[in-house]
C-alpha cells in the first residue's frame, strides 16, 4: 500500500478523528483500486491518490462542515504581522513542546491546514499541491502564505486562543 502511513496521517489532520480517518483511508484505497485505469501513467501518483483522499473527505459530513467554514481567500485580510520584530527565540525556541504547534495547526481552517501539510510535511512542490487540491499555483502560494501567517500569529506569545 503506497503512501499508507502518510495518507493516514494526512487523513487524521483533515478529519481530526482517528475512526473517520481510517474510513477515509480505506475508501481512498478502494476508490484508487477501482479507478486505477483513470490514473495516467507517467503522471504524479502521489498527487493522484492524495487528491482522491481529499475529494473523498470533502464529500464526507465532516468535510462538508469543515469546507463550509473555510474563509475564502479574498476574505482574509492581510495582517501586518510584526515578523521582522520577532526573533526566533520569541516564537519557537521558547517552546520545547510540539503540542502548541500541533494545537495551532488544528485550529487552522482546513483549507490552510491541508496546504500547509502538503507543503511542509509531505514536502510537495507547489505544482504537486496545485494538482492535488485542483487549484492554481497562485492560490497555493497565497493560501500557504496566509496559513503561515495565521499560525505564526497563533504562536505569538500572549496570542489569544480561539
Amino acid at each position: 500500500m503506497p503512501h499508507f502511513e502518510r495518507l493516514y496521517n494526512f487523513a487524521c489532520w483533515l478529519t481530526q478523528d482517528r475512526q473517520e480517518a481510517e474510513d477515509l483511508v480505506q475508501e481512498t484505497y478502494t476508490k484508487a483500486l477501482k479507478g486505477f485505469s483513470s490514473f495516467q501513467q507517467g503522471t504524479n501518483f502521489r498527487a493522484w491518490i492524495y487528491k482522491i483522499l481529499r475529494n473523498t473527505f470533502l464529500t464526507s459530513r465532516t468535510g462538508l462542515k469543515a469546507s463550509s467554514t473555510v474563509p475564502l481567500d479574498f476574505e482574509l485580510e492581510e495582517e501586518a504581522l510584526p515578523t521582522a520584530k520577532e526573533t526566533p527565540e520569541s516564537i519557537l525556541l521558547q517552546r520545547s513542546d510540539w503540542q502548541r504547534v500541533q494545537q495551532a495547526m488544528e485550529r487552522l481552517p482546513v483549507a490552510y491546514r491541508e496546504v500547509l501539510l502538503l507543503c511542509e510535511v509531505e514536502e510537495m512542490s507547489y505544482q504537486e499541491i496545485s494538482a492535488t487540491l485542483d487549484i492554481p499555483i497562485g492560490t497555493v502560494m497565497s493560501r500557504l502564505s496566509r496559513a503561515r501567517k495565521t499560525l505564526r500569529a497563533d504562536l505569538r506569545p500572549g496570542a489569544s486562543r480561539g
Binding site: 500500500m1 511542509e120 507547489y126 500557504l144 503561515r148
Partner: protein, 251 residues
C-alpha cells in the same frame, strides 16, 4: 523598506520554488542582509517545527492488517470467472476430443493405406505375384472358394483396356482377402477385397475415397455389399477410377 520585494518571495525561496537565477540572487542578498537572514531563520525553524508536529498520527496495527486484508487480491474467483474457466475447459475438452478423434482416425486410415500400398508393392516385387494365373474371371473367382469367408464378383473386361493377370490370397489386419492383379498399358493395378466387418476400420471412413494424399500410388476405396474394395496402382487416377467403376457395376 528596501527588503520588501525580497520578503514577498522569502517563502518561495525557502520552499525551493524560485528559479536557479533567483535562488542565487536571494542567497547573495540573505548573506548580506541581517533583517532577511533573521526572518529566513525564523521561517526555517517554523518549517521544521511544522514538519515535526505534522508527523503526528500513525496507523494502528489492527487497521494496517484490516487494510491489507481489504486491499489484498481476493483468492476466491468470482462466479462469472469460474463459469468462464468452466466454459473454456469444456471447449478445450471438446476441441481436444475432436482433434484426438481426427488424429487417431487419420492415423488409422493412413496406416491402412500404407499396408494396402505395401501389399501392392510386395506382391509385384514377388517372384510369383499371383497364385492363380489366369485372365479368365471364371477361373480366378472359384479359386478363392474355401480360402476366403466371402464371395465377390469380378467384372467383365471385354471391350476394356484392362486385363486380369491372376489372383492370390492376402491378409490385411489379420483378415483374409482376395488380391487380384490387373494390367492396363503395362501398368499393374491391385484390387483387394475384404469383409468390411472384419477390418477394424475407422467409423469415419466414407463410402468412397479417391486418391488419398501422401500415398505414392493412385488409389480408390469403397464399401459395397459388406465388402471393402481397394484399387491401387501406378496407373492414372482415371484408369483406377474406371476399374473401380467396373467392380462397382459387377457387384
Amino acid at each position: 523598506m528596501v527588503c520588501e520585494s525580497w520578503k514577498t518571495k522569502l517563502d518561495a525561496y525557502l520552499d525551493g520554488e524560485l528559479s536557479e537565477e533567483e535562488m542565487r540572487s536571494f542567497d547573495a542578498h540573505v548573506r548580506g542582509c541581517p533583517s532577511c537572514s533573521a526572518d529566513a531563520l525564523t521561517r526555517v525553524q517554523m518549517k521544521r517545527a511544522i514538519l515535526l508536529a505534522g508527523k503526528r498520527f500513525t496507523p494502528s496495527t489492527e487497521f494496517r492488517k484490516r487494510m491489507q486484508q481489504t486491499i489484498a487480491p481476493h483468492p476466491q474467483r468470482s462466479f462469472g470467472l469460474r463459469w468462464t474457466f468452466a466454459a473454456v475447459a469444456a471447449v478445450v475438452l471438446v476441441v481436444g476430443w475432436f482433434t484426438a478423434s481426427y488424429v487417431i482416425s487419420r492415423s488409422s486410415r493412413d496406416q491402412v493405406y500404407g499396408e494396402v500400398a505395401d501389399l501392392h508393392v510386395a506382391t509385384l516385387a514377388s517372384s510369383s505375384p499371383v497364385d492363380v494365373v489366369s485372365t479368365d474371371r471364371h477361373t480366378v473367382k472359384p479359386w478363392f472358394q474355401g480360402k476366403i469367408p466371402f464371395a465377390f464378383n469380378l467384372p467383365e473386361l471385354q471391350n476394356t483396356e484392362f486385363s486380369l493377370l491372376g489372383g492370390r490370397l492376402t491378409y490385411l489386419d489379420q483378415t483374409p482377402g482376395a488380391h487380384l492383379i490387373y494390367d492396363i498399358r503395362k501398368h499393374h493395378i491391385s484390387v483387394l477385397v475384404f469383409q468390411e466387418r472384419s477390418l477394424k476400420l475407422p467409423a469415419s471412413w466414407g463410402e468412397n475415397v479417391l486418391s488419398p494424399k501422401n500415398l505414392p500410388f493412385n488409389m480408390e476405396t469403397w464399401s459395397q455389399s459388406g465388402l471393402r474394395y481397394f484399387v491401387i496402382g501406378d496407373a492414372s487416377a482415371a484408369d483406377i477410377d474406371r476399374l473401380a467403376k467396373l467392380f462397382k457395376a459387377a457387384s
